[in-house]
Each structure stands twice: as structure tokens, then as C-alpha cells.
Symmetry: C2
């Protein structure tokens, strides 16, 4: 079954509406471009005033065309769109590409025009590309409807919110020559077909080996990640996304009207879907090429090989900074390298096979073979002269350099381990580099780009393994299956709050709801007044207590004098409860006070935050990070879209910057990541269960969750109903 | 007065020791290279067995050469070095370049050989370059003693710990064509002449406009930053330094034997000296070129101009992420842009002058002129097509593109504001880009590199202003003059501790020393026993107190049970003091307990750290950052070498990541940066005064310094004597 958009994106019969014989007109240039690029299908010009354009028979209207039409390339101005699409609908055209601007991106009138056009298209089942787009190029039928030339052909598909960014990548491909395009798609206003549908078509297209995307904002982020989840196990999606800074958010809104959304949320959610998100536009093209060419990486251990120092230091750091590991080579490998180059300056890892004699290309081949055979190595990065031997030392060494290039590619394939080459001579695309690349090994001018390619390869391989494991997991452990519904006790809490007209749960209610859902909580008890002090101490022990006011009218408990910490002994507790009541009464006159919640002070520990919120683009997301009062200032948090698998949860824990804090600081033991992952999954399930029960929770905020030596203590719990 | 190394680095008479007629020998190739690159001076081959080599008269020994010799290029093997240098010394040769390896980098025997050679050289006043170096190239006399060809000439000087890294930069320059070299210098083992001396020679060389450096580690970091301080006001030093990661430290040690040192320390100290430290090797060359070409930037406000969306979003984010500001354009500028391109998609900043019509190069010129005249703009970044108009739209637009290129350069100069161009066509070095670059405006292929160049230009301009202000400051406010000596009371504290045989000061002593030096401290008092509780409360007020044991035998007070926080009321204080004494006595049997220090609990606040330590490369350094118990885990700290100016201190405060924490979080007011800067300068002066008084302090550690709503509270003070 071909993808529903397949024939629209790869039309065999294409009508040009607004075809023209005037070389200045878009309706002329569109046909010229299709002809110049040897469109394989049939072009049908539509113009009521002409019988022939550029040698092609012209029809007065789309309805007058006999037979099927896959795509109408609409070159007429914006205002004609409703009428044109109406005619396409009557004719049964599958899709229409609206080039004109002047729609929702331009004005309110344009927005209404776009809305009307879409409504007509939907009524007739005509799918719309654009409007306000530079068009598309697809290679299968050589359909160049984008008016750019010299497009190198190849396995890449590009999907962009901006033709200009796409053009920049195209210029890169034109210079590079090796990694060309099967599809170039400038989405325009996405009035009908959106990112996720294009993505899914690219996923299904057997000619597409990698997707490069530039996205300013999603109209439907959840649909996109769902589409991505079915694509990334088969082929990489490399993405550069706007919204990392306030300036970027503003520029994206002014450019494409996109709401870029929270970038931290997008980072986690896109990673979860197996997407390779990059934070530099100059990495987009090389990383896509690398992920397409390289075999999967088993883990993150890279070996560096050079014929000189300095660059091995630069390479070691660039790899290490990107989360790769330079594991020592086995003794056997070291012995073998020593045998090959007795004077080698460094033989463990990184390897510097320079030995005081003139550089020799064969060292790369022989040492490379030894290194790739080492079980401690998952990938190899060559850095330095390779590719420039013949250029530097004359044609006498060319044959050897070619042989090494072929050998490296063979080694990569036979060992199933990625090999990348950084060459000082990459800009010159020397004959040796040409041999190397044609044999499947990518090369780069700079070490940082080569390192990023390997890091992304490792990340993508990990993501594929994680996703494969999740889909192979028995349904009982799959997060979707594990949200059967809300326990009665929990549902009762929600019903109670709703009946009281409250969406913000009291802390006592939040605790009750979590407990009903099986989330482990430390003991606590509610004191209705100072007289309950003795009972509380009897229940909670005589250690120091934390006391917090419980009131539907007090949002910021500390600010209202509603919190006392470390209160010990009956007298002190009595006094504190009275003090809290008085302070809150004064700060929030008329506040209804349910009582004071007492809990044992948590031991010293690392303060974390666990929560759920609703993202405008991606829906419900789970949050995890560094908690406490500085959560906003530190902003070391990560997100995943629900449902969240246990592997997702473990990855979240590994993704925050403050790893050292989790590994035990100042006498605290290392945190038990498995227990924390359980909590994350449980909190996500509470959200899902409530959603499934139709009694949604908008927000869960457990902050701080204190990781003490004895385990996790949820020290504060807030929840807001949908 | 020429620099002492000037004639050695630019020799007019050069002897080749170990000259040879055998084309396989280094002593032949060295002469060939000098001749091939048209060395302007005189070559004197030395070989006892030949009378003529390559047409040049040969002498049997260096001493047989009549007249002065500036440099001996030593091509003989390592073992001959002592004898050769001895002969050079007798002859009065100014300098010798030892090419051979086999010295300290190779073995212990080599190390001794190197030591002996240096000793001989010092005795005779012969300066040594190397050994274990690829040599040097200097342009003034066309002295190519490095055996590389096609070196583009220009204003750059490169100083490197690695010939390979230098070769990579050279390959970049060869491709780029525009920014060539006046000096290439591979330092080798730095047995005699070190980085700082080469750097100072480059600083004095009028032909050098910018220094590019790759450094694995300093032998004498303090001498380097002192040399750098006299160079950076005149010309930029761009640096890539090893040591950011453990792998990098290891690789550097294995490659050049360098101790890379603490990278965070280096970051702050090098910045303080006006050096442009970069963390990607691929930025080194373009940033050096930019700093050489661009006029100083007044502040950090950049405008972006394009003829299309997407790229303006990417540019806005890349700039913003690097600390640059996209300030809105003035209304007059916006009106002018609207006049030029009525349909412009965005006219504020970033500016998208694409307006639905075909792109036109003149928009860049006209809008660029309007933008650069705007007082809200300090620099302009063009992004997109420029440089590719003629390539895309035909030669008809070439003249206009040339004109715009020239206009942009004129605008840059007349406004004194940097202009950089990101062009999709940069790799093709089109004629328009050639015109642009020859007129002084740099261009780049990628937005991130262009953004980095502007960010570095802004940083370098700021550093130059800071350094100029510091050197113009009256001596009373200069940090050097402000360390007259140690007050008597402080000296007495140190003498007392020394007399007691202690290098670690008690907290009471540390507080006394700081107080004597004028550092403001919150009140505290020492309780000799529980009976002092009432007196302490009388002195400190009846609020909650922090109690800490004072003992020369207890290093980790908390771990020994020596700390109690929030103790209130006489009974509680009595009990706590007794409890502390008992706990410490148990934890550290026989500990001498001076008493318990009581201080009022600091109000809630941001915990900071201020300290001084001794860096192995840079000597005494001041540290500032996020404090508290997670200081190691968070590691958000910055350093400066002493002496520290007030401007340095303010920059330190601005350099930590957790800026939001300083700006007031959760109800805390913003921290007073001026007051904190005063504290930093004072702490640095304590260190200097102690040093000047000959009673050095090895380490000062104020952690935490709590920034409360009412000011700074030094909650803990540790000091260790040298």
C-alpha cells in the first residue's frame, strides 16, 4: 500500500494552473523548470487563452483535462485559490500545491481566504501543499516544482519551515557532491498537510534514507512525534528546531507565524521519539549523512587514530565533551600497533602512529585494522593527513592511499563499526577522499563535526535499541497497558474536590490521591488544631517535624507564614500550629484553614522535582530535574511525552546536568536510579489513569522530592485538576 | 629597540649545521626549502666534508664562518646537540633551532641530554628553539625553516604546541586564501625559549596583526599572561587550549608532556589577560581573521539582515546564545527600511527584506546603510544569498553585487561598526565575495561561525576597554598599589598559628585575620563552655544561633558532630555546646577543643563561595561561584589571577552560569554586585598583603558566603598558611 500522499508528492500527471507563455510569469517558469529537469511524468498546462505552451497541449480548464491528474501546481494569485480548488475538487485532482503568498501569513483577510480554501479542499478530498511555499522537488519522477537547479540526487529528504534554510543545506550538498536529495519540501503555511503527514510519507518512501528537518514550530506536535516514532526505527530524522532563545522564538513567530514552544520540552520529547536534535545548523547536513552511512554503534567507545600529536588531543576532547568514551585498547591491540609502528608516540587510545619518520598512509590502514578488531572499540575516528598524502608527498603514494581508503570501508563493514575521517584536505576532495566516500566512509574538514557525527550515531543507535526493547516488551510492562484506570479512592478525592468547586487539590488530597495510586509516601498527619500536637507526635515520632498550613485559599504557604520547619517537642508543635494559624489568618484574611499538615523532617539529601504538565504542542509531559527553591534559577530539568516507559525514565535521570549530585555528594550515598525511575513511571501513570478515567489532572508538582540516604521523600505535593 | 628574539626569528644570516648534498637528508631539504621559498638572507651550509652544497659555499665548522650568524638551523641528530651548541656558543651565534627529536619527550636519557644542551646554551648566551620541533617560518626574510609549502602570506602569527594542529590551520588558510601568515612556530620541547617569549616577540613585530595559538599546557603560565597583557591591547590573541576533559589532559600529557592544568582556572585567567579563548578548533582561524579585520564593537547589540526568513531565526538564536543582543531598531530606521522594501517581511530586528518579489542584492546595501546608521546597533550580520546573486541570477546583477560589497565595507569603516556576512555561497568564493573580503569584510559559510566571530569581537572589545580603564586608573584604585602590607593584628594571627605549629587557621583566627584586613564580618563569639551561653545570647541577640566547634584537630566539623544549627534560647544553647563537646570528643578522641563558635543564623539567601588558591600554572588565583555543600557537584565557579581589579571582580560575578540566582529568586532581592565585588577585591588583597609581608596564605575558603536580603554573611571561613 503506497502512502496516501505518495502520488501527490511524486505525481505522474501534473497540471500547471495559470500556465503562461510569458517568461516573466511563474506559470511559465514552473513548466520550464519541470522540462529542464526532465520531469518523467506528463505536464498539462491549463490556460483558457492558449492552446499550447512550450510545446505542450494546453487545456482551458482543469475539468477539461481527460484522465486522472495527480497534482495541480497552482501558479495563480492568492485570491483565485477558492475557485481553483473548487475546480480541482470537481475534477477529482488528488492534490494541489499553492505557490502564492498572501494568505494567513500576510493578513486577517488572507487568513480567511486560506480557511475558505481549505474548507473547499476538505469537502472535495483535495489535499493541499502550502500556500506560501517555494514548492517541492521529488526525484522519483524528477518532479522539480521548486525552481532550484543542480539538485544533487541521493537518499536525503528535507522538510523545512523555511526555503532559505533548505537552500543553505542545498548549497552545502552542491559543494559536497556526495549526499544528495530525493525530496526537498518547503511546507509553507501547512494549511492542510502538516509536518507529520509529510514525515510519514518520507518514512514510507523506499528511496529516502534520511530525513533532514528545519522546524520553527509544530501545529500538532503530538502527531509529529507519533509519526516520528514509526520512522526513526527505519531511518534517521535529523532536526534543527527554532526556539532555544527568546530572540529565536520571536523571529520564528515573525517568519512563519510558528509558536516555537518550550525548547526544553521539545528536546526531551523529540529525543524520546528517536529524533536527532542538533543545536547548530552547520551540523545538520553532515550528521544526516553520517547516520545514513554508518553502521549502528554498539556503545559509546571510540578510538582515535592519527599520525601526529595535537590533533589526537583535540579529537579526544571533542569526543569526550560529546559523551563518547575513549576506552583503552586491549594489550593485544597495543602490541600489534607497536609491531606496525615501533616508534609510535602513543599506542593506547588515542593512537598517534607518528614515529619520527615521514608519515605513511599505510599506518592508517594497518593500525585501523588492529583497532577495529579490538572488542573495546565501537567506532574509529581518523584524524590528520589522510586524504592528503598524495597531495603532500606526490603521486607515488596515491595507490597506497586508495588501497587504505578501500580497506577502511571494508573494515567498517566487516566489523560493523562506524569509521569517520577528519582530513585537513577535506575541502579539496582529493582522489583518495573520493575513493573513501564512494566506499561509504564519510570525511569532514573539522574534528568537532566528525566528533558530533559519531556522538549522534551513538545516540541514534541507543534510541533505536531503546525503542526496539520497548516495542518487544510484554504488554504488562508497557506503559500504555499499565494505566487501567483510576483506583476508587483516587477518583473519590477528585470528585470531592470538584464537588467543592476546587481545581487545586489540598496537599492532603494530593497525598491521598497519590497513595491510592500506589505512590509511596512518608507518613504525615493533619492537625486540626494545637490540641492534636500530642497525637501527631505519637504517630510520627518525637523527631523534628515540618508543619504546613492546609488551606484552599493559600497558594504560597511560606509567604503567608504557613510553614515551620524542624519543630520538635509537644510544646513547640502546639506553639507552631497556633503561630501558623495566626500568621495565615493575618496574611490571608478569611482564609479557610483545614488544619496543619505535620510530617517528619526529611534527612539531608538532594532535592529533586517530579511533575506533569500540559505542553501546548506535545500534550501531557512528565518533568524531572533538580528541585528545591532554586528550580527556576537552575533550570536543570528534562521532559518526556506520556506514556513514559521505564527506559525513558532512566534516560531522563541520566539526562540532567547535575549527574554528580545523583552520584553521592558530601557523604550522601549515590541515589538509587531504579527506585527513582519507578517513581517517575508511577507519576506518569497517575496522570494517564486520571485521563483515561475522564477526570484529567492538569498539573502534578512534587517538589522537593528529597533523595536521602534512606530513599526518596516526597516533601511537597501539589496537583491541579484539568 | 627590536625584540631580543627578533633577529633569531628573522635571521639575515642562517647557518645550516649538518648540511648535506643527499636529497634524502634533512640537511639537504632544509636548504632546498629556504631556496625554494626565496630566503632573503644568506645561507651558510656547514659540513666538514663538503666545500659546496646546492651552489652555496660550505664551511667545515660554524667557527670557520666569517662574520655574524643569527641562527643555526641544526639538522644533526640529537646526540650531537651539546657539541654543536658548544661550537655555536664559541662562535657567538644568537640562536639555534634544534629540529631533532630524541630529547626529553622520548626518554630519561633524552631528558638529561636536553638539560645538558640547555646548560651549555645558557652559559654561552645562545637561545634555543626546540628541540623536537618542525621548525619555524617567518615572512620578513622569507625564512622557511619548517619545510611546508604554499604558505599564504599575511598578518597572522601562529604559535603551537603541535605542528599537526598548525598544519590543519594552514590548510584552512590555503583554501581560504585571504588571511595568511607572517609566522608559523612549532615550539617543540620549549627547552629554552618558551611560549611567553615567542608571544612577546610576536607582540612587538609590526607585521603581526593577530596571534593564533594552540597550547596544551604552560610551563610558566604567569609569565605567559604577563606577556599576553602587553600584547592584547595592541593585537588579538586567539587561543585553543587543551585540558577541557580528562581525556584531553591525558592526550596532551602523552603528546607534548604538557600538564594542561585546570581548564576552569585557565578560562578565567586567560580572559582576564584579554585572550580570546575558544572551545572549538574550527573557530580559531575565522575568529582570528575577524578580530584582525573588524573595528571595535561598542557594546553587544547586533542587527541581522537577510532576504528571507528561516535564516534570520537561526541567526537570531546563534547570536543570542553567544551573549549578543538583538536590540529593536529605531522607528526612523524601521520607516526607512519600509520605504526601501515596502513588502519586507520583518523590519525591526532581525530584518527580513524579502518581500515576495525576487531577491535583489541592492536591498542588502540600502537596508545595511539604514541599519548601520542606527544608534541602537553596534554591528551588522548579513545572512543568506549575498555573494551568490550573480551565480543564481546571472551576470546582469554582478555589477550591483560588487557595488553593494564595496558599500558595505565603506559603511563598516565610516560607522566604525563590524559587518560580517554569512553566505550560502562562501565555499565558492564568488567574485562578489572576493570584492567584499578584499575591502575588509569577512564572510563565512555558516551562521554559527559568523555569530561566534561577532561574539568574540564584542568580548575582545570589552576586554580592551577593561584593560585600558585599569591602566588609566589612579594608582590608589589599582589593585597592585592597594596591597601595602599586612595589618599588625593580622600578622599577629599568622605568627600565633605558626608558633603553634599549625598551617590551618582556626575559624576564630581566620575571622580575626579577615577582620583585621577590613573584611566585614557578622558578629560571632567563642563559647569556652556551656556557661558562656548567656553571655553569647547577650552579645548576639536571642534569635537562633549556629554553633560550630573550634578545634585544630577537627577538619570536617559536621562529620564529627561539631555543628548545630538554629539553636535558640539559653537552655538549648547550653545543651548544644555540651552536645558538641561530647560528640567531637567521641568522634576525634583527644581533640583539643578551643570552644564553640556561635553566630546568628544567616537569613535565607543564595550561598556563594569566595576563595583563593594556588594554581600550579598561574600562581595565586581568586575563586568565586555558587557555594554551599553542592559546590563540587554544581561546579559553577570562575577564577582570576591576582591581582584582581574591581572590573575583574565585576566580570567574575557576571561570568557564573547561575545569573538568575543573583538576580533575586523566590522573594530574595537581587544581590548587590558592587558590594560583592568589594568583597572579592578585599579577599584578593588579603592574599597579596600576606604574600607581600612574606607570610603567605596558601588557601582562603569562604563557603558559604550567604547573600541575604540584608547583605553578605560569611558563614564559614577557612584559611591555610603557605
Amino acid at each position: 500500500m503506497p502512502h496516501p500522499l505518495d502520488r501527490i508528492l511524486n505525481p505522474r500527471r501534473l497540471a500547471v494552473i495559470g500556465a503562461s507563455s510569458d517568461p516573466e510569469k511563474r506559470g511559465y517558469r514552473a513548466i520550464r523548470t519541470l522540462l529542464a529537469d526532465h520531469y518523467k511524468g506528463e505536464i498539462v498546462p491549463i490556460n483558457p487563452k492558449a492552446s499550447e505552451i512550450l510545446g505542450l497541449k494546453c487545456y482551458p480548464s482543469i475539468e477539461a483535462v481527460p484522465g486522472e491528474v495527480d497534482l495541480a501546481l497552482v501558479c495563480t494569485p492568492a485570491k483565485a485559490a477558492p475557485e481553483v480548488i473548487e475546480a480541482c475538487g470537481r475534477k477529482g485532482v488528488k492534490g494541489a500545491l499553492l505557490l502564492a503568498g498572501g494568505f494567513s501569513e500576510a493578513s486577517e483577510a488572507g487568513r480567511l481566504l486560506e480557511e475558505r480554501t481549505v474548507e473547499i479542499a476538505r469537502r472535495h478530498g483535495v489535499r493541499l501543499i502550502g500556500p506560501n511555499t517555494n514548492g517541492i522537488f521529488t526525484a522519483r519522477e524528477a518532479c522539480n516544482a521548486i525552481a532550484w537547479f543542480d539538485i544533487p540526487r541521493g537518499p536525503a529528504a528535507m522538510l523545512a519551515n523555511s526555503a532559505n534554510v533548505m537552500l543553505s543545506i542545498l548549497a552545502e550538498a552542491q559543494f559536497h557532491q556526495y549526499f544528495g536529495f530525493n525530496t526537498l519540501l518547503s511546507v509553507g503555511n501547512q494549511s492542510d498537510i502538516q509536518f507529520h503527514e509529510y514525515l510519514s510519507a518520507m518514512g514510507d518512501d523506499p528511496d529516502t534514507g534520511a530525513v533532514i528537518s528545519y522546524i520553527e514550530g509544530f501545529k500538532d506536535g503530538r502527531a509529529f512525534i507519533e509519526a516520528a516514532r514509526s520512522v526513526t526505527p527505519k531511518k534517521p530524522i535529523v532536526m534543527f528546531k527554532a526556539g532555544r532563545t527568546a530572540d529565536g522564538v520571536r523571529a520564528a513567530r515573525s517568519h512563519s507565524g510558528s509558536l516555537a514552544g518550550d525548547y526544553t520540552v521539545a528536546t526531551g520529547v523529540l529525543k524520546q521519539a528517536g529524533i536527532t536534535l542538533l543545536d547548530r545548523s552547520d551540523c545538520l547536513y553532515p550528521v544526516a549523512e553520517a547516520l545514513h552511512l554508518l553502521p549502528p554503534m554498539r556503545s559509546r567507545r571510540v578510538a582515535v587514530l592519527s599520525e601526529g600529536g595535537g590533533v589526537i588531543t583535540v579529537a579526544a576532547e571533542a569526543l569526550s565533551e560529546r559523551g563518547l568514551v575513549l576506552a583503552p585498547l586491549s594489550e593485544a591491540t597495543q602490541a600489534r600497533i607497536h609491531e606496525i609502528v615501533p616508534n609510535a608516540s602513543a599506542i593506547s587510545n588515542p593512537v598517534d602512529a607518528g614515529g619520527g619518520t615521514d608519515p605513511r598512509a599505510e599506518y592508517y590502514g594497518l593500525c585501523g585494522a588492529a583497532i577495529l578488531a579490538d572488542p573495546n572499540v565501537d567506532a574509529l575516528m581518523l584524524t590528520g593527513f589522510f586524504g592528503g598524502y598524495a597531495r603532500r608527498y606526490g603521486d607515488g603514494v596515491a595507490e597506497m592511499e586508495f588501497k587504505v581508503a578501500r580497506d577502511l570501508a571494508d573494515l567498517m563493514r566487516s566489523h560493523g563499526k562506524p569509521v569517520v575521517v577528519q582530513s585537513h584536505y577535506a575541502h579539496y576532495r582529493t582522489p583518495a577522499l573520493d575513493v573513501l566516500r564512494k566506499a561509504g566512509v564519510p570525511f569532514y574538514r573539522h574534528i568537532e563535526i566528525a566528533a558530533q557525527c559519531l556522538a549522534s550515531a551513538a545516540d541514534y543507535s541507543e534510541a533505536k535499541r531503546r525503542m526496539a526493547a520497548a516495542s518487544a516488551a510484554p504488554s504488562s510492562t508497557s506503559p500504555m497497558a499499565a494505566a487501567p484506570g483510576l483506583p476508587d479512592a483516587a477518583a473519590k478525592v477528585i470528585a470531592g474536590a470538584r464537588a467543592a468547586g476546587r481545581s487545586a487539590l489540598l496537599e492532603t488530597e494530593a497525598r491521598a490521591l497519590l497513595a491510592a495510586c500506589g505512590v509511596p509516601l512518608a507518613p504525615a498527619c493533619l492537625l486540626r488544631g494545637a490540641d492534636d500536637a500530642a497525637a501527631a507526635i505519637a504517630a510520627l515520632g518525637d523527631g523534628p517535624l515540618a508543619l504546613k498550613v492546609v488551606s484552599p485559599d493559600v497558594l504560597h504557604k511560606s509567604d503567608a507564614g504557613g510553614v515551620r520547619l524542624g519543630v520538635q517537642g509537644e510544646a513547640a508543635v502546639r506553639a507552631a500550629v497556633e503561630g501558623i494559624m495566626a500568621a495565615v489568618g493575618q496574611a490571608v484574611p478569611g482564609a479557610r484553614i483545614e488544619g496543619v499538615l505535620a510530617a517528619p523532617m526529611a534527612a539531608r539529601g538532594v532535592e529533586l522535582i517530579v511533575g506533569v504538565s500540559q505542553d501546548p504542542q506535545f500534550g501531557p509531559v512528565l518533568l524531572f530535574g533538580v528541585g528545591g527553591i532554586f528550580v527556576e534559577a537552575v533550570r536543570d530539568v528534562v521532559f518526556r511525552a506520556l506514556p513514559v516507559s521505564r527506559a525513558d525514565a532512566l534516560e531522563m535521570i541520566g539526562d540532567i546536568r547535575a549527574q554528580k549530585m545523583l552520584d553521592g555528594v558530601r557523604g550522601l550515598p549515590a541515589l538509587d536510579r531504579a527506585v527513582l525511575a519507578d517513581l517517575l513511571v508511577q507519576v506518569a501513570r497517575v496522570e494517564q489513569a486520571a485521563g483515561a478515567a475522564g477526570t484529567g489532572i492538569a498539573e502534578i508538582d512534587l517538589n522537593p522530592v528529597i533523595a536521602t540516604g534512606d530513599g526518596l521523600v516526597i516533601a511537597d505535593a501539589r496537583m491541579i485538576l484539568a
